[in-house]
Symmetry: C2
Subunit: 422 residues, 2 copies
Amino acid sequence: MADSSEVEILCIGTELLLGNILNSNARWLSEELASLGLPHFRQTVVGDNRERLIEVVQETAQRSRLLITTGGLGPTPDDLTTEAIAAAFSVPLEERADVWSDIQEKAHSRGRLPGHETRRQALLPKGAQVLWNSTGTAPGMIWAPLPEFTVLTFPGVPSEMKAMWHGSAVPWIQASGLSKGVFVSRVLNFWGIGESTLAEHVADLLDGVNPTVAPYAGRGEVKLRITARAEAPSNAWGLVDHTEQELRQRTGNLCFGVDQDSLASAVLKQLAAAGQTLSVAESCTGGGLGAELTAVPGASSVMVGGVIAYANSIKRDLLSVPESFLEEYGAVSAPVAEAMASGVRRLTGSDWALAVTGIAGPDGGTQEKPVGLVYVAVAGPDGCSSEMLRLGHSRGREWIRVVSAGEVLNNLRLRLMGTQPG
Amino acid sequence: MADSSEVEILCIGTELLLGNILNSNARWLSEELASLGLPHFRQTVVGDNRERLIEVVQETAQRSRLLITTGGLGPTPDDLTTEAIAAAFSVPLEERADVWSDIQEKAHSRGRLPGHETRRQALLPKGAQVLWNSTGTAPGMIWAPLPEFTVLTFPGVPSEMKAMWHGSAVPWIQASGLSKGVFVSRVLNFWGIGESTLAEHVADLLDGVNPTVAPYAGRGEVKLRITARAEAPSNAWGLVDHTEQELRQRTGNLCFGVDQDSLASAVLKQLAAAGQTLSVAESCTGGGLGAELTAVPGASSVMVGGVIAYANSIKRDLLSVPESFLEEYGAVSAPVAEAMASGVRRLTGSDWALAVTGIAGPDGGTQEKPVGLVYVAVAGPDGCSSEMLRLGHSRGREWIRVVSAGEVLNNLRLRLMGTQPG
């Protein structure tokens, strides 16, 4: 197994330092490295600045064996990665005829002439191997400027980086001998329990060394990450499975899934297995609940659709919420939430229906009905239930919307399991 | 003005290195630092590992004047930040009576006894000043272990970090004299043009030094970031304004807004100014278009709601899309998109209506109607228009959904400006 401190990620781009974009490339590469049994222990971000790039590359070469970079490979003057890496080792750049041909070909296939500036992308340090870019024009490289130090460069455009990673980098890493052991990780996803309470329930396991168990909080969700190391995948997964079983026994139905499972995908799976359908009626979430459900590929076998009932007129006219409920209890109330759920269930003919109505803020709150007050309802073959949520205003509009959607999905999940929510 | 290389961000957490979460804290802090005229030039991420933390802190102390850390301040054994920073300078920890009182008080106010492990959070290096945490129990610190080097620590929980930043760190930074000049930035947001085409239109401006102009691509959007430095804010903004004017003149109505403006917020603003209302009918976006619109605070003055018409039965029964259209043209067709838009407009009584129907994949595509084929429609007082999009399958389901929603919003934006969409 490669020594733990031997792999690093370097993301290059002034837009990252200015906070204009999230560093989603670093996250994606981190997951990929972990799954290859190649843990990394440091990530660095620098801007499009030649001197600082050279400095970081030289530092990294002293303490690591593999550096993976993203960004700065394009044709514009602020794309400095290749040039700076070459300069860090005082190696000249040379134009690669095959890369320049590839750039010209790609331009022609789009009915364009290759711009003069794109020719810069054909320059690579002497001795570097081309990491071909099948979708874009900027190639990367695999280059070992020192006997014990290799750099892999990728463009910052996520789709290009991902295609090159899978197409060329993974085979190279697997053949490199850097990744001998495996390091596997599974995340258990929980809803309806706080991070510290969950941590108390499993405190003894948090002290484990292999596997390790670590809690962290998402938006309404809490996660426990189980990570194991072993010589072979089956042994590592065996360790993870054993700890997962223990965690599930202690936490009952609070765990709704693993890894990329969402509450939406969990509920869709339950309904698909039962051959049942679902619809939604959304006020404060405004379509967000439907979007979460339909983000899951294959949702159409379960999810029929629904109504975004943002205005009260829609609640009344489309969902048949009685005017008297709106007047007497207000739009944000248990009777209205239940009437919305029943209404959309009737309207669409679905087996189950979810409804959300609340005050997402920042305005619209009152003393009696503050920002963060939300009612969610589930209507099904066995009747209608609802729950009041007090989510507060401090975490903001988006948080209230996401947690409300999660809570109503969790209520349905528990009802489908035969458990009463709340 | 502080020397450019004097501020760094260090984010601590194994979950970041495993790719379990996005580093949204780094992005948020980056934006805040830029707005304070305190640019930073390096970000580092390390895991919950004492030795590596000490190493990074010692390196940073040699090249920087201010280090801002997030994460690792909690009560669990893997929270090592404070201890490691103290160890980096061989300074002992001491318990702060006022911090321990605060932790106990917070536990009592929640009707709980403070756990033994929470007491660790009252330990700070000798000489450090407490950075109070008003919402959580983990305090941060402001500590100058060396005459020319200060560390500010924050918890990893974003809401706590943000509250502490605004409450205590910003006043400290402003009083510190680190931030003398200003460094301001505005982002112009474009729709309907590719990054490289836009870059060609403004190539000469990309070579500027102050302001700098840099292009980058989002999901369907392209952005140009204008950044200027000056002694006083008014001078810096003057430079930005001048360049913005030039860019807008060259790009016409391709620019839909600045900074956090979204296509949704731009359209809502136009409609609010005209006193008009909007509804949506969504198939492949499944609520995502409604969610984008209602993510904008105050959307309720314009957005009345709509129908998530995922199943064909909903398109027919709720939106009155003729059965013959569905049979003859298929659900993914211009006639159906237009009938959906007209249908939801009639149903809700809104002035304008948007519709989206398409194949988001990964399954469901055919030779004739591949994944990525989407029709969007806009219905309004002056009739109905539609557009066919071919978005391809390679960028995935979520990208298709987001770009489809953007495209239909942009079509409405252009129609409201009296321009026919292209």
